[in-house]
Amino acid sequence: MSQYLETTIDKFIFRVATDRLYTPEGVWALLEGDRVRVGLTDYQQQLNGDMAFVHLKPVGTKFAVGDELAELETIKATVSLFSPVRGTLAKINPDLDFSPEFVNQDPYGKGWLVMIESAHWEADRAKLIDAKAYLEWMRSQAEQELNK
């Protein structure tokens, strides 16, 4: 079971799982053996709202850091997500075709997006931030967004 940091901004509660690393854009990466599981943070799913469709790149796609990995069609907007690591797409979450709402309901669990066969985890992870740093960054982002 994941542990979470939690923060309340305005009336909203945002959770950040402590067992994984993050990009400032709100994509998480969790090492499992030699694969990296990738998903969207709780803050990003709340910000973007109800998922209508989740479009993932096909298995076998090779990524550099920052390559587009998914396109989320939410009810209000289209959102691109970028890969946090280098590697090859090994598996996609098969449930998201029929239940894209998993991304909203359980962003750190059954709403995961893809597994990437990581080629350079040690080098790539150095560019990611930990849960505490992401929480701080997200707080400043959220305060700006909510005080607009």
């Binding site: 709202g49 069609e73 289209t78 607009k148």
Partner: protein, 385 residues
């Protein structure tokens, strides 16, 4: 929240409820309370209540009011009966759409008749200025033809109660029989609730969702009490508060235009598919002569509905193609929670506007198939009313 934003009488309630508040045309408004899809779905299946107090409400009374409005609006109003409501437009001198409005004809508790023109929040100041230009003192004070114009927007709250359970929820709260109120009719009512402090208001069978329902004008000071009374009445029916996010997806499914998307000063009523709202013979209003000319010319573009077979959602401004050629653009698009597929409203060349025509939408560099369909995307079962 930006403290300079205008607040409706329900602002504190929305915030306490945990709504996500956004700047909508200078107002702090709830875009969603829980989820747009949930609020949308409950509106279709049961009933929901939306705070629309940001809408502009302009009141016209006096012996000259009917003629003055007839000379401002594209559609006849002088023949309206008490209790009748009409959809109309206001156009500029070139025939471009300045605003779309609902005009209602009511009487107050002393029997004095008056008109209420409901305008979009984002156009309220523009329309107030436009009216003031056309209603100088010498026009407003002609003996025997006086026109008194009042902007009621900050004095009255406005709620939309929409969904198949609307009659059941509202009936215990008003002193009239709602079952027999026809669509596009409205009347003055007494609120049957102690929180109303014996104030009356206006209820009309109108809406912007494609569902049965009502819109209410309620005095600002009693608005929170009436809002709560409706939520209490609606509880057995599963009522939810509905934000502006679902209001937008609901109106798209119903094929209803929105100013700033389907309507603008660059679009004339015929191109927008709103020729029915223009009575060109009779009163002379701004833009009438231009519309008489435009009416004889071939249309440059047509408002259409598009249904997508893929899973990508068209958004405002995306190009519409026919065999690779640019033929128009998307004016609104969303994922339809009812049809569970992407839908869009667009403006295209007349040659490709027939229902059934196969087109494409350029979705960020990828052309995806789209079929022209007849409005609306969603139609309620009208046997219920």
């Amino acid at each position: 929240m930006d403290p300079t934003l205008l607040r409706t009488p329900l602002f504190d309630w929305h915030v306490a409820q945990g709504a996500r508040m956004v700047d909508f045309a200078g107002w702090a408004m709830p875009v969603q309370y829980t989820s747009i899809i949930h609020e949308h779905t409950v509106t279709r299946s049961a009933v929901a209540i939306t705070d629309i107090s940001h809408m502009g409400r302009l009141r016209f009374e006096g012996p000259g009011a009917a003629v003055f409005l007839a000379e401002m609006l594209t559609r006849r109003v002088a023949d309206m009966e008490l209790g009748q409501i009409r959809y109309s437009l206001m156009t500029n001198d070139q025939g471009g759409i300045l605003e779309d409005v609902l005009v209602g004809y009511y009487h107050d508790s002393y029997g004095q008749p008056f008109y209420v023109v409901v305008v979009n929040a984002g156009n309220r100041q523009k329309i107030v200025d436009w009216i003031n230009v056309h209603l100088p003192r010498e026009r407003a004070e002609v003996p025997g033809r006086e026109v008194i114009f009042t902007d009621l927007s900050r004095l009255w709250a406005m709620f939309a109660i929409q969904g198949p359970k609307s009659v059941e929820v509202m009936q215990p709260l008003v002193n009239i029989d709602l079952q027999w109120m026809r669509y596009y009719r409205g009347t003055r009512v007494q609120w049957l609730h102690p929180g109303a402090q014996r104030q009356g208001g206006i209820i009309s069978r109108t809406g912007y969702t494609g569902e049965d329902g009502f819109e209410l004008s309620v005095g600002a000071e009693i608005a929170p009490a009436i809002w709560q009374a409706i939520l209490d009445q609606g509880k057995p029916f599963g009522i939810v508060p509905c934000g502006l996010g679902a209001r937008d997806t609901l109106r798209m499914e119903a094929g209803m235009p929105l100013y700033g998307h389907e309507l603008s000063e660059q679009i004339n009523p015929f191109e927008a598919g709103l020729g029915f709202a223009c009575h060109l013979v009779g009163y002379d209003f701004p833009g009438r002569d231009a519309l008489l000319r435009i009416q004889k010319e071939p249309l440059r573009r047509v408002r259409i509905g598009l249904e997508m077979s893929g899973q990508r959602v068209p958004r405002q401004g995306y190009p519409i193609l026919s065999s690779g050629q640019l033929v128009g653009e998307v004016t609104s698009g969303t994922f339809s929670p009812t049809l569970k597929k992407p839908i869009a409203i667009g403006s295209v060349a007349p040659a490709v506007s027939k229902p059934g025509t196969e087109l494409q939408v350029d979705l960020r560099g990828r052309a995806e198939p789209a079929r022209v369909i007849e409005f609306p995307f969603y139609q309620r079962d009208r046997r219920r009313v």
